[in-house]
Symmetry: C2
Subunit: 111 residues, 2 copies
């Protein structure tokens, strides 16, 4: 599994715009093939700082995210609201294992 | 929901020890009341750098994690293997919503 952690710092005057846009991005991204998590986290210390935790079954699925219409729309609008440059880092997900994730997804699909 | 992100940097000579200990910590932590995620991520750039993504239903559940036997055992052993100080940051989880998480847990429990 392939994880990307993206740190975002948003201008205070665009916080409401950002909160609206990130909800749309989350809701579309969790529908993508191979997406396992797309969690949106807000710092408890500074509410203008966010972390996106994007977990995909493989690196190819993560790359495909950046080709979607919803990502392109997000990326055309949101950078104007950044108070400082976004920072991204890539990780392997060691635990939980792929097997557990696939099983969970099957249970949810079958419910 | 309450998220804690913990950055860890491990001495190369203790990497195997760490990988064994973090698996035990993951497996026990996901059984805790209120735990929603306990993901173990390894940097793709530097395999001695890790991120723990710990998501709980509330801050009280996250605090209770540090009172468990498995956390105390982890915390008695693992800091000796740190190549630099651990760093932790706390977040609110905005998306997915609590409701979705609880529903997913119910599906999995009922399967």
């Amino acid at each position: 599994m392939h994880a990307t952690l993206v740190q975002l710092h948003i201008k205070l005057e665009h916080l409401a715009d950002f909160l609206s846009a990130v909800k749309v991005n989350h809701e579309a991204s969790v529908q993508e093939p191979g997406n396992l998590r797309f969690d949106v986290l807000q710092s408890r210390v500074d509410p203008t700082r966010f972390l996106l935790y994007e977990l995909y079954a493989c690196a190819e699925d993560a790359a495909a995210h950046r080709e979607t219409a919803h990502y392109k729309e997000w990326n055309a609008r949101v950078p104007d609201w950044f108070a400082s440059d976004r920072r991204a880092a890539e990780y392997l997900c060691l635990h939980p294992s792929q097997t557990v994730e696939v099983l969970e997804a099957q249970f949810i699909d079958g419910a």
